[in-house]
């Protein structure tokens, strides 16, 4: 009896292992290298992906490492993702600590790691320089944080530099098409400048303070003379304590805030609670960490989402 039981267990375990193996074979192997004429580029998440796609045009295949709609702050790559990365010709990421898994993944891959480019290096150098073009007037509601804000792409002025870094990286791995990447750079820089001009107009509006759930809009505020009050911290996962909630509602009232911004990829509950407290309304403001399903269906990109942000900010500030 006992031996029979052991045999059944053995058979069961073998069946399990075998069927898991079969499943693995049945999954289409998109990660294995097919014969390809174009370099494969992995971009860590949405803004980098969008920039890479715009820069690459038809000359490279761009894949997004973090799937659209996932919240990138606490995303972790699966074994399959890492296998895919091994076959890439270039890996682009935003950096400044935003993708916390980058270092361990790249060092884990060792020799198999594709060349990786941190697209915010030029921006970091600019921010570190004493004269970074920052306007020092205006009071700061809370600047007691020493944390890094890594959401540089939310300021069109800095996003431009990030885009240039993406083009540069593409030129390096694919020198024979360098001319086309230069062309893409030129074309899009004009568009970034246009967006920059539109955002500059925001500083003419009467109000200066925005209330957001997650502290992502620091660079946008910095470059266009605004102030952000964030309900939670740097990650949208942070839940504010009751003291912070009370402080935010007080500051929001003092500054005549009529709109509380939330992010569509995170919970809007906290924004709704604060808005109810001060009698304001809620509007989405995208940190562009990914597209919502609706945005993807509409074929939105960096520029169109930033223009929607612009419209929402305009409503909140006038």
């Amino acid at each position: 009896m006992h031996r029979l039981g052991a045999a059944v267990v053995m058979k069961l375990s073998l069946t399990l292992i075998f069927s898991a193996f079969l499943c693995a074979c049945a999954v289409p192997a998109s990660t294995t290298a097919v014969v390809r004429d174009k370099p494969v580029i992995y971009a860590s998440f949405y803004p980098v992906y969008d920039f890479a796609k715009k820069a690459a045009g038809d000359f490279a295949e761009v894949r997004c490492f973090i799937p659209d709609g996932a919240e990138p702050h606490d995303w972790e790559p699966s074994p399959r993702d890492i296998a895919g990365l091994m076959g890439a010709d270039l890996f682009l990421y935003a950096g400044m600590g935003f993708e916390h898994w980058v270092d361990s993944v790249l060092s884990g891959l060792g020799q198999d790691a594709p060349p990786a480019v941190e697209t915010s290096l030029a921006i970091q150098a600019l921010l570190a320089s004493p004269d970074d073009g920052r306007e020092h007037d205006g009071h700061h509601i809370h600047d007691d944080h020493d944390h890094h804000d890594s959401h540089v792409w939310l300021s069109p002025r800095l996003a431009k530099l990030q885009f240039a870094a993406v083009c540069e990286a593409l030129k390096e791995i694919d020198p024979k098409n360098a001319g086309s990447y230069d062309e893409a750079l030129k074309k899009h820089l004009a568009e970034f400048d246009k967006l920059d001009d539109e955002f500059k107009a925001l500083s003419l509006l009467p109000k200066k303070v925005i209330v957001v759930t997650h502290e992502a809009f620091g660079y946008l505020c910095r470059d266009y003379g605004l102030e952000q009050i964030s309900i939670a911290g740097y990650s949208p996962e942070d839940e504010p304590g009751p003291a912070r909630m009370a402080q935010v509602t007080r500051l929001a009232r003092e500054n005549g805030v009529t709109v509380v911004f939330y992010e569509e990829l995170s919970s809007a509950k906290i924004a709704r609670t604060v808005a109810a407290e001060i009698g304001a309304k809620t509007l989405p403001l995208s940190p562009l960490e990914g597209l919502t399903d609706e945005e993807r269906e509409n074929g939105d990109d960096y520029f169109s989402v930033m223009r929607k942000n612009h419209a929402a900010l305009k409503e909140a500030l006038s």
């Binding site: 996932a70 919240e71 839940e239 304590g241 009751p242 509950k269 609670t273 407290e277």
Partner: protein, 269 residues
């Protein structure tokens, strides 16, 4: 009026917190008597799978949590019947399955922000619908608990002699398990799934140091839980701490203080 009550969200937090502080220890007393203190933990963790499923299907995650943790509760009862000598085993198995399921499902939810808020709760951002859900569920749990007051005690204390004296043990157990599941699910929204079970056990442990009867244990437990909740909310508001964790730690500190003073008294006497 104190500043803390000037905010709408704090009023809601107090209302939800105190309501839960009344019903959670009622369930807790029975759980402690049955020597299954980990069942709350298991159900709370399993309810996370329901939260993830709810977020995925676009239904209210608290509703999802209630459904899944009720299923898990019945699972625990089922396994417990199969392996009567290893009651804890049924809890461990169900909990593992629940956490595994939650882990996989939460990988598919977009915007896991709301998922994470269930781990430690978000008592300061309860909306009106959830407050209504908390109050309605609590009323049901309280009424059923009072109706089955004696039966629950009897079954918890000695299942076989309860059966001999004609108590419908199976029915009482099933009802109680469902109550526990409902209770844990709504509480995971407020104090969080990771700490709800301590709110079940700590007030009861405190009460048992003083109470001389079943009735007294129930009443003292509720009083302790209500005090912990009020004190915890005050502390978290004025010291800027996480509310759920503060409530539980307040309870722990009080329990330790009680144990120490009673011990030293015993030594002196």
């Amino acid at each position: 009026m104190l500043e803390i009550f000037a905010y709408d969200f704090m009023q809601k937090a107090f209302l939800a917190g105190i309501t839960l502080a009344v019903i959670i220890p009622c369930i807790g007393v029975i759980i402690v008597l049955r020597r299954l203190p980990m069942i709350g933990d298991a159900l709370a963790h399993t309810s996370l799978a329901g939260v993830a499923a709810g977020l995925l299907l676009g239904i209210n995650p608290v509703a999802g949590a209630i459904v899944v943790s009720m299923a898990a509760a019945l699972c625990i009862e089922g396994i417990r019947k199969k392996l009567p000598k290893y009651a804890e085993l049924s809890i461990a198995v169900t909990m593992s399955a629940g956490i595994g399921l939650a882990g996989i499902l939460s990988g598919f939810t977009s915007g896991s922000g709301s998922f994470n808020s269930f781990l430690f709760g978000s008592i300061v951002s309860i909306d009106s619908f959830e407050l209504a859900l908390v109050i309605a569920t609590s009323l049901v749990v309280l009424i059923v608990f009072l109706l089955l007051y004696k039966e629950l005690f009897y079954v918890a204390l000695d299942e076989s002699s309860a059966r001999i004296s004609g108590v419908p043990v199976g029915f009482v157990n099933a009802v109680f398990t469902l109550l526990t599941a409902a209770c844990v699910s709504i509480a995971s929204r407020t104090v969080g799934a990771l700490i709800v079970s301590s709110l079940m056990v700590i007030p009861v442990t405190c009460a048992m140091q003083f109470a001389k009867s079943y009735r007294q244990t129930v009443i003292f437990s509720v009083l302790f839980a209500v005090c912990f909740t009020i004190a915890g909310l005050f502390l978290s508001f004025y010291l800027d701490l996480r509310p759920g964790a503060t409530i539980v730690l307040t309870g722990c500190v009080v329990l330790i203080a009680i144990l120490i003073t009673r011990n030293s008294k015993r030594k002196l006497g």
